[in-house]
Amino acid sequence: MKFLLPLSLFIMVASSAIAQSKYFTKAGKITFFSKSSLENIEAVNNKVVSVLDVTTGQIEFAVLMKGFEFERALMQEHFNENYVESDKYPKAIFKGTIENSKGISLTGDNAFTLKVNGSLTMHGVTNLINTTAVITVKSGVVSASCNFNIALEDYKISVPAVVADKINKRLTIAVSIPAYQVMTTK
């Protein structure tokens, strides 16, 4: 709730005067991919909650670990039970700041490639993430995307010894927000 309480209040009290620079979505997408000799691992979560404040540059994502869907049930079960322990750590949260966000123009159609610095908390561990995001404004709709890599050991996610040599311990994370909604007063 640490992420969501401010967001809930934000949505409820945001005044129309300031709302135009503040956006949210419940329909973001996060995909992760890992290529390895044993098998490629890929999963998608289509229910990412995100908040973006263009004025301050603050950007946040939250995702439920049990919401990641795999092609095969066995892989999904192993992911939740043996790797990310999603009963114990149900969420992953990213909180960051977009550098030079004041340069984002919300009028006209444009794409802005900007640096994002923040922290990702997953499996009870928080690490710094520095990456590049693309913020796109098209026909008044704001969307965002970014990719970054993480190492499993940085998040204390251990790989069973029997497959340790065959699993790629680095994951590529792809975040995609197809359309932010303007925050309005409820």
């Binding site: 992420f3 969501l4 419940k26 439920l64």
Partner: protein, 144 residues
């Protein structure tokens, strides 16, 4: 009776074939359709949202990764070109509702519903962000 080498070889071969078949089937197993799964709870939107808002840890202990059945009014149906259908049920004036990601095998069942209609949906609870989140959802007929 002493087993001959031939019988031992045939038995071992059968065991290997059966094990290989089992492992292949298990490896390629798809997530189960929950149509026939009995829910651990039948609850309305306000009640489950209240539970999560009041004590998320306790609510997760009760419902996380379990099948629950929720009844409420449809506030929004998001259909991304039939690749993904998300049904929100609850109150349009509330920030927190229940978000139901439909099982692809049941996409057609939502097409007769529109916003405002009452619906009963069963799904696997994946937790709480802004909404209580259910995945692999199926629509439950009124008499169930």
């Amino acid at each position: 009776m002493v087993l001959s080498k031939k019988n031992i070889a045939i038995t071992a071969g059968l065991i290997v074939i059966i094990m290989t078949g089992y492992l292949y089937k298990e490896y390629h197993r798809q997530l189960a359709d929950i149509t026939s799964v009995q829910p651990v709870a039948k609850i309305n939107v306000a009640a489950i949202v209240n539970l999560y808002q009041n004590d998320e840890t306790k609510a997760n202990q009760q419902y996380l990764n379990k099948t629950i059945q929720v009844k409420g009014a449809i506030t929004e149906i998001i259909n991304q070109q039939d690749t993904l259908i998300n049904v929100f049920i609850g109150d349009t004036n509330s920030v927190h509702n229940v978000s139901c990601l439909l099982d692809k095998r049941h996409f057609n069942t939502i097409k007769k519903y529109t916003t405002g209609q009452q619906i009963t949906i069963k799904g696997i609870c994946t937790g709480f962000l802004l909404d209580v989140e259910l995945n692999r959802c199926v629509i439950v007929q009124d008499n169930q």
